[in-house]
Amino acid sequence: MAEHAEGTIIERPIRLDYEYTAGLAQSRFLKGIAEGKIIGEKCPVCGKVYVGSRGSCPTDGVPTEGEIEVPAKGTLTTFCVVNVQFAGQSVETPYASGYILCDGADIALMGLVQEVPIEEVRMGLRVEAVWADELGPTLNSIKYWKPSGEPDADYETFRHHL
């Protein structure tokens, strides 16, 4: 309790616990991650491949189908550089965080970009996943993404995935 000039402030901690159900599609994705695979699912109407599908195509509202493995390699479509420290931060600043569009996927995954000087991080950079030593059904299984050494991707190839 803290005194205030015109009143009293009360603290009222609230906590709710949940048992989260990932769902059928997301479970398939997370099981894939635990095996070091990135599993996408395809919309039967528009043909887009969703990586980390929640079970439906958000455009067409139909169930996504098929387990389509995409390579753990892709293009950095956009990024930001984090310069500010905040509570619970596990990476030293400055660091780059960005959207990685795996080859053959139509939606990007978020991830850290490392093993490259910050000033060289750029849109179109080709990257590949660096997996954690121990894999589990979590995106922490991908430690970060590093440059693959391939030439940069042409902007036209990823302009719809920013």
């Binding site: 616990d17 949940y18 159900t21 997301q26 479970s27 455009t59 067409d60 509202g61």
Partner: protein, 352 residues
């Protein structure tokens, strides 16, 4: 006023704990089934509105992710209420009154199982005086049941009779969670849970989804042979503080029932959203329903109680009976909040 009718309905089976599918995966087949029954594509629908509660899922903007089940492309005219789907239906009814569109899709969904539903629902209370005490839904319902039992001739046997009839009626409802033949004496031998309520006086915990298509005027007649016309619809609220209410009565239901025109004709069927057995007695009185009225032929919320879904389901169950020609005039009621705080009443009729 335009004439608006329920022309198609769909609902998922009530499940105690849906452990495999997420909310979108539960909702999607219900909406697909509904549109198929109505013979409509999403692009044929003028307005889409949902009722759900993000607290059930524990995720901010969970209602937005639910649109993944709908297919909102090309962009749709869409809205949401953080209320039971019955209030979403009210919004759709209001929207159709503008006159520029003829059809609306209403859906609601909710998994009550991921969190502690009793604690979650406590957070809808007054944040200063009530929430810090964490009074839960069952405790508040028990206060209300006690108020009713002490106020007049209502006995625990009357509560047990409500439960017995609900379970029996639910035998004919393929979507119900609890059904069967249980006699009143057996029920009365069960131990107290939160006195004066026994466990069977309380609703089950349910995961599920439901959806409705509304249509106006001739569009409704095109879409189905016998639309369930909404002849009146109204919703009212009690004071926020439980302490200033007479919990044994439901003035807001009475007013909503009068405004909706419940008393303007014979009532064949009434689907009352009474999650607790004693609430059915309070509602029946407030609406002036006699013993000749078939109350909760579906089994009601005591048979399955998807939070945010069960109120819309009452409208669905009433409308289904009109559309099937089993009833000419039906009353549907939905509630929200603690101890019947908010109440919506709709009167549905088939064409003579």
């Amino acid at each position: 006023m335009r004439d608006i009718a329920v022309v198609a309905t769909a609902q998922s089976p009530a499940i105690r704990k849906e452990e495999r599918r997420n909310e979108v995966e539960i909702l999607m087949p219900v909406v697909h089934d509904l549109r198929k029954r109505a013979g409509l594509k999403q692009e044929d629908i003028g307005f889409t509105v949902s009722g759900s509660c993000d607290y059930l899922q524990g995720q901010a903007f969970a209602f937005v992710t639910a649109l993944d089940a709908i297919g909102p492309w090309p962009p749709i005219d869409e809205s949401h209420v953080e209320m039971d789907g019955a209030w979403a239906l009210y919004e759709a009814w209001t929207r159709l009154q503008y006159g520029d569109i003829d059809t609306a899709l209403v859906y609601s969904f909710g998994k009550s199982s991921p969190g502690d539903i009793r604690r979650i629902l406590s957070l809808q209370l007054d944040p200063y005086y009530l929430v810090p005490l964490w009074p839960d839904t069952v405790a508040m319902a028990a206060l209300q049941a006690r108020a009713l039992l002490e106020s007049d001739g209502v006995t625990e046997k009357d509560l047990a009779e409500v439960v017995s009839r609900s379970r029996k009626n639910a035998k004919d409802n393929p979507n119900a969670q609890l059904s069967g033949d249980v006699d009143v004496d057996t029920l009365l031998k069960e131990p107290m849970y939160l006195s004066p309520l026994r466990k069977h006086d309380c609703p089950p915990i349910t995961d599920g989804a439901a959806a409705v298509i509304l249509a106006a005027d001739d569009r409704a007649r095109e879409l189905t042979d016998r639309p369930a016309w909404i002849r009146g619809i109204d919703h009212r609220i009690e004071p926020h503080s439980l302490g200033v209410r007479n919990l044994a009565d439901s003035p807001s239901t009475r007013t909503a029932g009068e405004k909706a025109g419940v008393g303007n004709g014979n009532v064949d069927v009434a689907e009352l959203h009474a999650p607790f057995s004693h609430q059915e007695i309070i509602l029946k009185r407030a609406l002036g329903l006699g013993d000749n009225v078939n109350v909760n032929p579906s089994g009601g919320a005591l048979a399955s109680n998807g939070v945010m879904v069960a109120g819309l389901q009452r409208i669905i169950e009433a409308a289904d009976r009109i559309m099937a020609g089993q009833a000419d005039r039906a009353v549907a009621h939905a509630t929200s909040g603690p101890a019947l705080q908010q109440n919506l009443v709709a009167v549905l009729e088939g064409e003579k």
